[in-house]
Amino acid sequence: MSHHLVEAGNLRHVYPDGTVALRDVSFRITHGESVAVIGANGAGKSTLLLHLNGYLAPTSGFVRVGDRSFTKKTLPEIRRRVGMVFQDPDDQLFMPTVYEDVAFGPRNLGLSDAEVEARVEEALARVGAGHLRERPPYRLSGGEKKRVAIATVLSMAPDILVMDEPTNGLDPFARRRLIELLADFRHTKIFTSHDLDMVLELCERTIVLHDGEVRADGPTREIFRDDGLLAACRLEKPLSMQGCTACGTARHQDGERSSRD
C-alpha cells in the first residue's frame, strides 16, 4: 500500500518574485488518512497543494508520492494517482459537456472508448450527477459544478484525493451533501479549508500552516482545543466546538457529543 503515501521533507518554495511561500514543511501522510491543511490566508496552503502533483517544483527539500520522487518520467503517473480538485470548478470544467469533461482524464490516459465510457458512468454515478451528462458546464449550479469537478478526477481512479477549499461557495444543503459524499471515499484525502466545521467532521488529522511552516500537526480535536495555537495562527474554534450562546452547551465538549444529538 506504499503507493498511497504522501511525504514532504524540508520543503521550501520561493516564488520568482522573492516571496517565500513555504519555509520548511515536513509531514508524512499514510494510506487512508484524511488530513486537513489549515491556516490563515497566505499561510502557504495552495502553494503546498501545487507541489503535491508536481505543478510547482520545490526550491529545496523534496516531495514524494508513493515511493517515487518527482521526475519528468514519473510525473504522468503521479498526476494520475493524485486527483486534484481545484477551488473554482469553472477552471476545472473546460470541455463543452459534462461527459467530455469527465472523459478528459481517462482519454489522456489512453484508455479504450468502452473503458472511458465505463469510467465516466461510474464517476458520475458516484457523485450523483449521472443526469447531468450532456449538460454544458455553464448550465450547472454551484453544487453540481463541484460534484462534477470531483467526478472529473474520480474517473482517473486516483489513490489520493486533494481538494482546495471543497465547500467554498456552496449553500448549506449542497455543502452537507458534499461532506457526506467525501466521508464515503476510501482514498487518502488531503483538504485545505477555512470551513473548520467540515474539517472537524471529515479529518481525523490536521496540519496547521503558519507563515510557510508547519506550526502543529496532530489529531484534529486536540488542535482545535489549543486556544493559544489557534489565536497565534489567526484561526478560531469550529462553531460546533464553541459554547452555544442560546442554550449554553457545546456540541463537541472534550471530544464527546452532548446528548442533544
Binding site: F94, P96, T97, N108, P136, Y138, M156
Partner: protein
C-alpha cells in the same frame, strides 16, 4: 450593464435551441457545415447587380427554420442587428454609381441603389444561414465538424475554449462594470481612465484564470492533444442532405430562376 447580461442570456438561448431533437438536429454536423458553406459561397458569388436572382435563396433559411422547429422572431431580431452594418457598407453605392439600370416611368433606378439592395439581401441571407447553423447544430459540434473536415485541431480547440469561457468572462466583466457603475452614482465615475484600469484588471484576471485552467488540464494528464469522442457517421441521410441542397444552390446560381419563371408566365400569356 443589463445589455451585456441580456446578450449572454440570448446566447444561451441559441445554445438551448441547438439541443433540439428534430431530424435536422440529428444530422451529422459536417453535412450541415458543408451545406452552409455551399449556400454562402453561392450567394456571395453573384454579380453585384444581382437582386431578383437572390430571392429564391430565402427558401433555404425558411426550410431550416421550419424543419428545425426554430422560433422565427428570435432569429429575425438577431439578423436585424447586423442590418445597419450591411447598410453602412452599401450606403455609398447610390452616390457613386448613378447610371440608370431600370426606368419605371419617370423614376430611374440607378445601379448604385440596386447594388446597395443586393448587399443588404446578401447580408441577411448569409448571416441567417450562419445563425441557423448554430441553432440546429450547436457551437461545440460545429468546431468538431470543422476539425474532422481538416481544420487544424489547434484552431478548433481555440474556438471551443473561446465559447466555453465567453460566458465566464462576460459575466466577470459585467460584474466589474456593475461594481463601477454602482459607485459612480449616475455620473461618469472618473471617466475613461477608470475603464482602462477595469479592462486591465479583466485581462490580468483572465490571464491568471488561463493559468489555472492549464494547471487543471495538466493535473489530468493533458499532453497537448485533444481526444474527441463519437465517431458519428456521415451516412446516407447526410449525403442526401448535402447533395440535395448543393444541387439546388447550383441551379439557383447558374439559372436565373425568377427570370425563367417570368418568361414562362409571359410565354404562356402570349
Amino acid at each position: 450593464m443589463a445589455s451585456i447580461e441580456g446578450t449572454i442570456l440570448d446566447f444561451r438561448r441559441l445554445d438551448r435551441l441547438a439541443a433540439g431533437e428534430t431530424a435536422l438536429h440529428r444530422l451529422d454536423a459536417r453535412a450541415k457545415v458543408l451545406v452552409t458553406v455551399a449556400f454562402i459561397l453561392s450567394v456571395v458569388s453573384f454579380d453585384r447587380y444581382a437582386l431578383a436572382a437572390l430571392f429564391p435563396f430565402f427558401l433555404y433559411p425558411a426550410a431550416i427554420l421550419a424543419l428545425g422547429n426554430l422560433p422565427i422572431g428570435y432569429f429575425a431580431r438577431k439578423v436585424a442587428l447586423i442590418l445597419p452594418f450591411a447598410l453602412a457598407v452599401g450606403m455609398l453605392n447610390p452616390l457613386f454609381d448613378r447610371e440608370a439600370l431600370v426606368r419605371l416611368g419617370p423614376l430611374a433606378v440607378t445601379g448604385g441603389w440596386v447594388s446597395c439592395a443586393s448587399i443588404v439581401v446578401r447580408a441577411v441571407l448569409t448571416v441567417s444561414a450562419a445563425l441557423l447553423l448554430v441553432g440546429v447544430t450547436g457551437f461545440p459540434e460545429i468546431c468538431r465538424a470543422m476539425e474532422r473536415l481538416g481544420v487544424p485541431q489547434i484552431f478548433a480547440v481555440q474556438l471551443l475554449f473561446l465559447y466555453r469561457y465567453l460566458f465566464v468572462l462576460t459575466e466577470e466583466g459585467a460584474r466589474s462594470s456593475r461594481a463601477r457603475e454602482l459607485r459612480s452614482f449616475g455620473g461618469k465615475g472618473q471617466g475613461i481612465p477608470s475603464y482602462g484600469s477595469l479592462a486591465g484588471h479583466l485581462l490580468l484576471r483572465t490571464w491568471m484564470r488561463a493559468d489555472r485552467i492549464h494547471m487543471a488540464m495538466l493535473a489530468r494528464g493533458f499532453t497537448g492533444e485533444f481526444h474527441s469522442r463519437r465517431p458519428s457517421r456521415f451516412g446516407g441521410k447526410e449525403l442526401l442532405f448535402l447533395s440535395g441542397w448543393s444541387a439546388l444552390f447550383l441551379v439557383l446560381r447558374l439559372r436565373n430562376v425568377p427570370d425563367l419563371l417570368g418568361s414562362l408566365v409571359m410565354g404562356s400569356l402570349r
